[in-house]
Symmetry: none
Subunit: 121 residues, 2 copies
Amino acid sequence: MIILEVIHYKTMMRDVEIEVFGGVIGLLFLVFGIWLGAKFFKKPSIDKYDADKLGLSKREIEVLELLANGYSNQEVADKLFVSLNTAKTHISNIYSKLNVKRRTQAVQKARDLALITPPKG
Amino acid sequence: MIILEVIHYKTMMRDVEIEVFGGVIGLLFLVFGIWLGAKFFKKPSIDKYDADKLGLSKREIEVLELLANGYSNQEVADKLFVSLNTAKTHISNIYSKLNVKRRTQAVQKARDLALITPPKG
DNA sequence: GACTAAATCACCCTAAAGGATGAGGAAAAA
DNA sequence: TTTTTCCTCATCCTTTAGGGTGATTTAGTC
């Protein structure tokens, strides 16, 4: 293994250099460890597969995320730079595809199916 | 620093021992890194928030649960065997106490504060 | 007993949400 | 190129949600 080879080569160095080297190696493992920790404990992103199965478009997922964050129709429209009518159309289409009748149900179903980013944490 | 002292002491060891030592040190940093990564990226476990601090009554928590399950005002009323007006009053009071303006925000906040039963698990 | 909080219900009104439908343009797929 | 999907916006209409206020009853507290 390359790293161990380098460690072996290090035996020719002076004492101060050895300590610095050890620190660098430790730092590398530390960074790698943090990366591993983040990889396995960080919240998962949206499941595009399920979204496709329900026929939800990219825009609709976007709207769904906003609904889950408590935005009103008008706020969704402002956020996406579209008219209120457009936002309402998207929302209505979402209800149809999710087979629900209200936004709270849509958000609930979206959470269950992991269609949206989970709540903060 | 203790670890660096140990690394220094290591210079008296034989080559094979050096490699093993390096692996151990790396492993320690790795574990520490994973711990760090988990600490900052893992979803924190929900501490049981004191509903009393928000002044939410038992009945209001009940209503909140129903809102989180996507019920309409009328359905909440039916579920609790009260009038629609009563349900609306409870809901309005909830909004005031949670300092929100819409039901989706109330549900969101209730989830964040673990005031209601989590969706799953 | 008086005080307080909680739960209940009512009426008024405005704002927001939702249903149905049509339609035009852009982009991708056939 | 034709078709289809998506995004966009619109109008009309109904239903639901929400804000404000006041009132009654009951249960627990001081």
